[in-house]
Amino acid sequence: MKHHATLISIMTEKVFEEEILEVLEQEGAKGYTIFEGGGNGSFHLHPAQHLSMVDEFRIVKIEVIVLDPNMADRIATRLMEEYFEDQPGIVSLSDVKVFRQQKF
């Protein structure tokens, strides 16, 4: 059985990872996966390249799949308003299909 779900992709600096995971937990997301990468965006100057030796300035992508589209919107809105106004980061949503809905 396939179920419709929403994939939330969050890109930000690793230094903010913990705060964002807290938001996810507060809003009830059941799991997430984190990838490290490099990046370049509009905020400040090349944020991913500050002191490349220091992990905390790396870009991370946090992927969260949730079943409830309202939860997805709520998470995205909170992140935009509370964090990504004045610190680097972007959030995008997309539709995915998953199996075994109790996991999400």
Partner: protein
């Protein structure tokens, strides 16, 4: 006059020392567009070994030291860290084109301590044969943490002021000083130093110190200097895009801060017999600016501050000046004064 010419020839000789030579070598390669880079896990390992080495030696000496002697320098270290941040807040923040939060974050980084610069200073004193109390490494957190905490507190206040002017409101967490202090102590650099101190104090690490940590010191430091040279050059391009006053501040700050600390060191020398080498190291703690744990701590603590400004100032200008001029200058000063 003789002192001056002596100092100049010291600087020139300094360019031939591996420490400074390797730093400049790294800068040169980066300037030439080289893709030379030391893997970041190796970098972290090198930092770890250097700090363990410094900590172990400090710990082994504290065993036989009179801890009361540590009190006055430790108190001075706190004081110096605080003074540096206030100087930055008052002087740097007033310069044109500089946002208050950015000034405060930069001052915080200069108040904090660079482990690698400190290691370079110790090696320099060993090489010229100037003695120092090995427990001076234990002063590190006493200067580092107050500077970072104060900068974050002032930075948050400045941010709140800015935000009151704008319309939207954040639900920002309150400033929690205890949390920041603990978070600083838990950082990887301070942790390695503290672990080394504890192991030096409580166990008998002489065999492993002599067979590994001590012999690796010089080689690992030389590689660290190359890394820092590369970083210094690469951050320069970012620094260029922010106000030029940062460069001015970053060039003066190491010598000014070191000078202030040197003064406090002289007082401690007269009051408790703090050694000339110890005074030099105290000056370098002050003159150096944090390169490992400081930046992310400030980034998380004052997210609205621009890292290009504070990291650029410290890594690209502050650190090279501190190593190239600060270390030989304060060493020379100590041979003159004492």
């Amino acid at each position: 006059m003789e002192a001056l010419s002596g100092f100049i020839s010291l600087i020139l000789a300094g360019f031939q020392t591996p420490t400074l030579g390797f730093l400049l070598g790294g800068m040169f390669m980066a300037a030439m567009g080289s893709r030379l880079n030391i893997p970041d896990q190796v970098y972290k390992f090198i930092i770890f070994v250097l700090l363990m080495k410094i900590g172990l030696r400090g710990g082994m000496e504290i065993r036989n030291a009179n801890l009361a002697e540590l009190l006055l320098p430790a108190f001075f270290a706190v004081l110096i860290g605080v003074i540096i941040v206030f100087i930055g807040k008052i002087a740097l923040a007033r310069l044109p084109g500089i946002r208050p939060v950015d000034a405060i974050a930069t001052a915080g980084l200069f108040g904090a301590v660079s482990a690698s610069t400190f290691a370079a200073a110790m090696l320099h004193l060993d090489d010229v044969g100037m003695e120092y109390e090995a427990w001076v490494s234990a002063l590190y957190p006493f200067m580092d943490i107050p500077a970072l905490v104060l900068a974050i507190v002032l930075g948050r206040l400045a941010t709140q002021k800015e935000e009151l002017k704008s319309t939207h409101k954040h639900k920002r967490k309150e400033v929690n000083i205890r949390e920041i202090v603990i978070d600083s102590l838990q950082g990887s650099a301070l942790s390695a130093l503290i672990l080394g101190l504890l192991l030096g104090l409580l166990t008998k690490p002489e065999p492993v110190y002599e067979s590994f940590y001590n012999p690796m010191f010089r080689g690992f430091l030389s590689i660290l200097m190359i890394i820092m040279g590369i970083e210094a050059w690469q951050r320069l391009s970012e620094l260029r895009r922010v106000a030029h006053w940062y460069a001015v501040y970053a060039a003066i700050a190491p010598l000014l801060h070191g000078g202030i600390a040197f003064g406090f060191g002289i007082i401690a020398h007269h009051l408790t017999g703090f050694s000339p080498g110890g005074v030099v190291l105290l000056a370098i703690l002050a003159a150096s600016s944090s390169d490992i744990s400081g930046p992310p701590t400030l980034r998380a603590g004052i997210p609205s501050a621009n890292p290009s400004a504070f990291i650029g100032s410290s890594t690209s200008i502050g650190t090279p000046i501190c190593i190239a001029i600060g270390i030989p200058l304060f060493t020379e000063l100590a041979t003159i004064v004492f």
